[in-house]
């Protein structure tokens, strides 16, 4: 990347940096050129980093008080809530933090979809992102099992049973996952160990995600390549840092509104009943962020088929950079894709709604239609649009859409003229 090199300011800095170039890294992160037209949808990367760190910090502390044993887990959660100093706060931040993490990641993903951030040369960033998303779902699922409530137990039972759909080896795989013949203590302890481990894998993947991002640099709302270190970019610090912090503060307000005023709004009351392997709750649903996939699972009238379609719904995202053949990245210049993008958003929200409803009557019909549309969007619409859509004229520079408004330059000149007199004739 063409970027000014770090020049050590002291002998000590030079000595250190030539042995371990952390100062060069820090310099790179600060001066990393970002397109000047990034909007607030680009602040979710920073927000997500905040979410991960919050989850790790609160999670490690909760781990000091939690007991991973079927006889004590439920009790130890109550102990955290009632006895441990600020235990209620830490647990509510951790539980709602998971929801907020997914809220942010969904916005981040749809941002990528709208502005075509997955397209060349950013395919690897996107694929690492999909893997992070998969690991997030696995981590969240295993975390939800730990309180050992009714939803924990039956959620674990249903999700692990997904693997029993695999022909021939399915039963052995579920037995292996459980460490027994049903979800039990061996299952709980291994889920705890993995729930502790996976966030650190996610952390590692986020480093790769950012590394891969820093090779081509950020996409931007216009979607055309920017000239680095020109007047089209700004250093990450302080410009993007300030913007990220502004967005983060708004995000934290929403986050902590849930923590303090509606800490259980996103959870399920049945999870405050201790796990009972003899009684399934009449209405079992996963956490809200998994509902669209749950709806797809139930829409297919076959066990193996449902599982295949559910995993395919995520896997199709890996292929996305090659399914969308349009050379134009940003939806701003794709009049037809832009409409289908919003249909996709509506479809995913509809699937989420249907995932929370019983799988019968109109709900079942709608979830089949929505499932079909989801796959049609990726597998048919995107390749076809890439060929036949007539895209709008792309600007030459990311500045043009701002500066090309008639009268705008005159307005600037007039405003600037007040301060600088005649010198502004050379403006632009």
């Amino acid at each position: 990347m063409s970027e000014e090199k770090y020049i050590p300011k002291s002998k000590l800095a030079e000595w250190f940096d030539s042995r371990l170039p952390l100062l060069s890294l820090s310099h790179h992160l600060k001066s990393y050129p970002t397109p000047k037209n990034l909007n607030y949808w680009w602040t979710f990367g920073g927000i997500l980093t905040f979410c991960l760190i919050t989850q790790i910090v609160t999670g490690v502390i909760l781990g000091m008080h939690y007991v991973a044993h079927t006889d004590h887990a439920f009790e130890s959660i109550e102990h955290i809530m009632r006895d441990v100093n600020y235990g209620w706060l830490l647990r509510y931040v951790h539980a709602n933090g998971a929801s907020m993490f997914f809220l942010a990641v969904y916005i981040h993903i749809f941002r990528g979809l709208f502005y075509g951030s997955y397209k060349a040369p950013r395919e690897i960033i996107w694929i690492i992102g999909v893997i992070i998303y998969l690991l997030m779902m696995a981590t969240a699922f295993m975390g939800y099992v730990l309180p050992w409530g009714q939803m924990s137990f039956w959620g674990a039972t249903v999700i692990t049973n997904l693997f029993s759909a695999i022909p021939l080896v399915g039963e052995s795989i579920t037995t292996w996952l459980w460490g027994g013949y049903s979800v039990g203590n061996p299952t709980l302890t291994r889920f705890y160990a993995l729930h502790y481990l996976l966030p650190f894998l996610i952390f590692g993947l986020i480093i790769l995600h950012i590394w891969a991002l820093h090779i081509p640099g950020n996409n931007n709302p216009i979607g055309i390549d920017v000239k680095k270190n020109s007047n089209e970019t700004m250093p990450f610090h302080p410009y993007m840092v300030m913007k990220d912090i502004t967005a983060l503060l708004v995000f934290i307000i929403i986050f902590f509104w849930f923590v303090f005023f509606a800490p259980n709004a996103l959870g399920h009351p049945d999870n405050y009943i201790e796990a009972n392997p003899l009684v399934t709750p009449t209405h079992i649903v996963p956490e809200w962020y998994l509902l669209p996939f749950y709806a797809i699972l139930r829409a297919i009238p076959s066990k193996l088929g449902g599982v295949i379609f559910m995993f395919a719904a995520i896997f199709v995202l890996v292929l996305l950079p090659w399914l969308d053949t349009s050379k134009v990245r940003s939806s701003i210049f794709r009049p037809i894709y832009r409409k289908f993008f919003w249909v996709l958003v509506a479809t995913v929200i509809l699937l989420g709604y249907l995932g929370a409803k019983p799988p019968e009557g109109i709900y079942l019909v709608l979830s089949r239609i929505a499932t079909a549309y989801y796959f049609i969007h990726f597998l048919i619409l995107l390749p076809v649009l890439g060929r036949y859509e007539k895209t709008d004229q792309l600007p030459m520079s990311i500045s043009d859409p701002v500066l090309d408004k008639p009268g705008l330059i005159d307005k600037f000149k007039k405003a600037a003229g007040k301060y600088e007199g005649d010198n502004v004739k050379s403006f632009k």
């Binding site: 249903v158 013949y181 061996p186 392997p277 003899l278 399934t280 066990k303």
Partner: protein, 170 residues
């Protein structure tokens, strides 16, 4: 192939070393995988005896075996007749009722839906027998899948009548 590209002694040694290394690595991984399978203490709890003398006709009791619920239902005459009268062609997973219940009065099944493992509710659903609330599978009075996403009938565990009052499961 020119002489220079012919495999040399050194290439052979490299390949052999990699191969032995790979075999060693795979065999070292096996204990790490197998430790997750059911351990000896879990396997030891493999039978359970149940006293069924207090069960009235038309009632089901549920006991726990290997962490799974076992339904033991004393079926009514009507239920037995209904189960026996079903044409095997109407079944998704064809099985005769007489093969499922050694003693037609007693139906012993693993109470785990064969779809995704929920516990079906009894006296519910379209066949007024078992119904799984999770994803809507309907089972008949013999525990056979009739409607919904479950692929197979409710499983019959290994069991035997020790005497008229005691069933040994496992």
């Amino acid at each position: 192939m020119s002489k220079k590209l012919m495999p040399k002694r050194r290439d052979f040694l490299f390949t052999a070393t990699y191969t032995i290394g790979a075999v060693g690595l795979v065999s070292a991984i096996w204990p790490l995988i197998d430790q997750m399978n059911p351990d000896s203490s879990v396997k030891a709890l493999s039978t359970t005896e149940v006293d069924i003398s207090a069960v009235e006709p038309g009632k089901t009791i549920t006991v726990l075996w290997r962490g799974k619920p076992i339904f033991i239902r004393r079926r009514t005459k009507q239920e037995i007749d209904e189960a026996a009268a079903v044409d095997l062609k109407d079944l998704k997973d064809p099985e005769k009722d007489s093969d499922r219940a050694k003693n037609p009065e007693w139906l012993v099944m693993i109470g785990v839906c064969t779809h995704l493992g929920c516990v079906p509710l009894d006296n519910k659903g379209e066949y007024n027998a078992w119904f799984c609330p999770c994803h809507g599978s309907h089972y008949d009075t013999s525990g056979r899948i009739r409607k919904g996403p479950a692929p197979t009938n409710l499983e019959i565990p290994k069991y035997e009548f020790v005497n008229n009052n005691i069933i040994k499961i496992g």
